[in-house]
Amino acid sequence: MARQLIVGTRKGAFVLGRHGKEWRIERAALLGDPVSMVLGEADGALHVAQDLGHFGVKMKRSRDGGATWEDRPVPKYPPKPEGVEDLDPTRRTPVPWDLKRVWALEASPREGELWCGTIPGALFRSRDGGDSWQIVDSLWNHPGRKEWFGGGADFPGIHSVLVDPNDPDVVKVGVSCGGLWSSRDAGVSWELQGVGMRAAFMPPDQALNPAFQDPHRVVQCPAAPEHVWIQHHNGIFRSTDGGRTCKEIDTAQPSSFGFAVVVHLEDPATAWFVPGVKDEKRYPVDGAVVVTRTRDGAASFDVLREGLPQRHAYDVVYRHGLDIDADGATLAFGSTTGNLWLSEDQGDHWQQLSSSLPPIYCVRFAA
């Protein structure tokens, strides 16, 4: 049974727990400031990344379930050398060498190792539990990185970091926009993957270029990490060879557009999505919130509606707004409208935990 659910919102972080049969908000923390990312570690530590607007990005850690927080070091971009040109390829404006958002935070199976994906698109690594951060130079200085372009944000970013549970040297990152990159040596060298992803937003001769893809979210099955699921700007893609090649899935109804995806921790053929109207409108099809689920590797999809609003609902679920607990049965998702739902039977039935939270950026079960 899931123990704790952490929710990052535009106005702070919320910690929920199960009491008897009921899930309740146990604590509202850091109220007033946006929380872009949360991470609960196996030892109980909670990490949050805040975006203070005027005053930049900050990180904090709590060791008492969110009651008290300590300031933590923040990833820092290196000094930009004189004369180096680093321009957004579309707009020809300078890419700031300055942290704008923490967009991914993951713990590695290797003790003390954390990975952090950011906007503008960089990857940082900590080997001391977040006491210090080092930028992954090999990716930041990679010529391919300079081709990344902004998706929904002003500058491109890394929103997904996948660490192989069996071999923590194997690390993949998902970039909006810039495809799927993989390292087999803990970030020393990188290979662009994702052959087969298709970008209808590019001219036809570039639509299959792996460098121009916009995976909104990339996840892997922990028990079978060669199975990778991608909710892409263009639809759903699946890889069974660790992301090297991808197959487009066009059978999901009512839509294959969305931001979020999760995969079952042990069964790589089972995954969930929260669809919306493709692609600029992004609200639930017919104003009805649904979750789509496949249990057969995308041969078919269930459309799950029970407990979810089916009339005049315009909730958008961001890419980190859906999560599955380690128990394999409990899922939760939260929306820009401040609705938070949870299911304890793999999505067959949903209960609404709140209808009045601030806009939700990320939802995460504590490890």
């Binding site: 607007g53 005027h54 005053f55 930049g56 900050k58 300031d71 971009y77 060498w97």
Partner: protein
């Protein structure tokens, strides 16, 4: 000696009392301040050491001219205010 004052909205996040320090430029003033209150640096300056995009610095009532290297000069008795830049709305 020049004095530096911070918006109370920053005090919500970190200790940043008003201080009087010997300095001939804004860069020097802030460096001396950060020696004593190191946590304040990252709230005011970005990763490249430039004034954050939405932070407003006033030197004796004028907007800071050099937001990159903070070379604006100070007189004895200069007053520097570090505030939030409002962007309308």
């Amino acid at each position: 000696m020049a004095s530096v004052h911070f918006t109370q909205n920053l005090a919500r996040h970190t200790d940043c009392p008003t201080a009087e320090l010997p300095a001939s430029t804004v860069a020097e003033l802030l460096e001396r301040y950060f020696e004593r209150w190191p946590a304040v640096r990252d709230f005011v300056l970005d990763d490249q050491g430039e004034v954050r995009k939405h932070v407003k610095v006033l030197v004796d009532g004028r907007n800071l001219r050099d937001r990159f290297k903070l070379t604006d000069t100070l007189d004895a008795g200069s007053e520097v205010y570090v505030f939030q830049a409002l962007s309308g709305g």
